[in-house]
């Protein structure tokens, strides 16, 4: 894959059994991708208003990856979510108010102000928050998978990383260890063409998905802008892992549509490349597909967008109303006085619902169950 042949990106490398996704699932996929887009747009405007201390990062253009991948997980599976993957937090039940509050360093952010931007993980939702060093969380995901394997539990750990991170030695350690131990772990690689300003051709001589085989695990390449393709590939990988078949590397081809961070004007990105990928926007293209292939009415799709916008707006108000943390909190929490298990995440895919308990066709706009700022305060 070179810089300019984005159009050559293949479709789903793993064929999707159409029965896997219900109409309601498809609406949810669109809803979560839209929620990520709208929440990040809102966060960016808060940043521009000076309400976000530090720096700002988003995953614009990559919404299909975190949403499609997280959608394949069961409640008891575990995740390490990375910096372009806000959609995975939403799928697991984190609400946008807590995301926005975290960005603003507020007391009700997921970390209570201890850490910023996407460096959070909601313990109650089965997530371990990423650290900045890349791709460290791949090794932690291995460890969670190791515990699951040792106890014979049919559970899976999943983590994300960018293609740039595959150059780091820890990536090699992670792949090698997962391969040796046949761990129930799924690695979702987001090839968004750049690591900060460094393009693919300066990141590696052999594409990471080709390297997978060398570690004794399958590598699958999918169109990362096609949410169903991502879901299909990750679902297959999760099922394999759950059945004792070991790890999979899923490389999702995509494009980072914003700068590395809000401070980055992307002067190094050829405009044609952006235009090419703009035409493949994961949300626009999925909305179009729902209309053309899956019989959605235009009003349904529009309603999802409008409802998400209204909901994120309410969330932003809640986040803005959240206080800054007490300064003294900075000195607390260095050491634990007991271990507590992670909680289970939301698993909105109908595949996890009991038979007869499938979600209704209409998309459910109220937030998935879980602590919102309001509920926390109550």
């Amino acid at each position: 894959m070179t810089l300019s042949d984005a159009s050559a990106v293949m479709g789903a490398a793993v064929p999707l059994d159409p029965a896997l996704l219900t109409r309601a699932d498809r609406a949810e996929l669109l809803r979560f991708m839209t929620m990520m887009r709208v929440a990040e747009e809102r966060a960016l405007s808060l940043y521009k208003q000076g309400k976000v201390p530090g720096s700002f990062y988003d995953g614009r253009g990559q919404e299909a990856i975190s949403v499609g991948a997280a959608f394949a997980l069961s409640p008891r599976d575990r995740l390490c979510i990375l910096h372009r993957d806000l959609g995975a937090h939403f799928v697991r039940g984190v609400t946008p108010d807590r995301y926005l509050a975290n960005y603003m360093g507020r007391a009700d952010g997921v970390t209570g102000g201890k850490d910023g931007n996407l460096h959070f993980g909601d313990r109650a939702r089965g997530c371990v928050g990423m650290v900045s060093m890349l791709p460290d969380m791949a090794l932690v995901a291995n460890g969670m998978a190791l515990a699951m394997k040792m106890r014979g539990e049919p559970r899976v750990a999943l983590t994300f990383f960018g293609e740039g991170s595959t150059a780091n030695g820890q990536w090699h350690e992670a792949m090698n260890f997962a391969g040796i131990q046949r761990l129930p772990v799924v690695f979702v690689l987001e090839n968004n063409r750049f690591a900060y300003s460094t393009p693919n051709e300066l990141e590696f001589a052999a594409d990471p998905v080709e390297r997978a085989e060398g570690y004794g695990l399958p590598g699958v390449e999918v169109d990362g802008n096609d949410v169903e393709a991502v879901f299909a590939a990750v679902h297959a990988a999760v099922e394999r892992a759950r059945a004792g078949g070991g790890p999979t590397l899923v490389e999702c081809q995509t494009m980072r549509m914003h700068g590395h961070g809000a401070h980055d004007d992307m002067g190094y990105v050829p405009p044609e490349l952006l235009a090419e990928w703009e035409a493949r926007d994961p949300i626009q293209s999925y909305a179009a597909r729902l209309l053309e292939e899956f019989g959605f009415a235009a009003e349904e799709v529009e309603r999802i967008d409008a409802e998400v916008r209204a909901y994120v707006g309410e969330c932003a108000e809640r986040a803005l109303a959240s206080p800054l943390p007490e300064p003294s909190a900075a000195l607390e929490g260095v050491f634990a006085d007991r271990w507590e298990p992670l909680g289970d995440g939301a698993a909105p895919w109908s595949g996890w619902a009991e038979p007869g308990d499938r979600p209704a066709a209409a998309p459910s706009v109220p937030p998935p169950p879980g602590p919102t700022i309001e509920r926390r305060a109550a």
Binding site: F120, V128, M133, G143, Q170, N176, F177, V334, W339
Partner: protein, 321 residues
Amino acid sequence: MAELTYLEAISDGLRTEMRRDESVFCLGEDIGAFGGAFKVTAGFAEEFGPERVLDTPLAENAIVGAATGAAIEGMRPVCEMQFADFIACGFDQLVNVAAKLHYRQGQSVPLVVRLPSGGGFSGGPFHSQNPEAWFLQAPGLKVVAPATAADAKGLLASAIRDPNPVCFLEHKGLYRHVRDEVPEGEYTVPLGKARVAREGGELTVIAYGSAVPLALAAAEALEEDIEVLDLRSLCPLDTEAILASARKTGKVLIAHEATRACGVGAEVAALIGAEAFEDLDGPIRRLTAADVPIPFSPPLEQEVLPQLDDMKEACRELLAY
């Protein structure tokens, strides 16, 4: 009570905890069939099976990272670094991931990293280090360094049961040279409590690890009224015991085998200087390794590491003050 070497006591402590709690497991290089570079886990694979005595590839970040993830999921991993020096290769997972998870998101990470440390046997620059000060600059890590066999067992058990990442510095020079009475069965020594290894009234030697037997030998040889305080735990640090002994004797020598600059000695000296200044009858002195890599050839290594004569000399100087 049984008389065990320091090494046997570590094995005993680990075995006892593995029998007591199924979630305790070991991982590291060559620890299974081979029993580890120093044989701490000899016979473990037979008793507990290869899964709980997990041989890993040569990849220290993978070891510490796997331990971190497994600990989050409720296991109690005990990592073995083949030599303490190699933690440098797993440092990122330890200080950036494991150490900060509780502070950042309330996630407890109950893991132990066993670190065969120290020199004195021509291990050279990469098999002789005492890296404890590295960890003390990483809030979120606990650090212990036993000097006796009983403490090696009891502190290891406490480290395994602690809900935080604990660096367990086991001094290779003590492995087979230290031997004392060790309680049988389950036995714990609390983290953060120093031990008066020898009572005295004229001078306190504050030490840990290999410096403790050295201080005791010097005190015996000099036949002086020297107190030896064994810190046992460097984080949490028993500040009360340190200040109490400093106030009692008024003279303090801090001794460790690790290099000097910004080491434990500096921290302890600053504490005493700030809190017990009025009670001091002399300068706070340090006896440490010189600030150089640990050289290989015996005369060079002996020049760098604190020797018994150095300890005696340092005590004499302070006593005469």
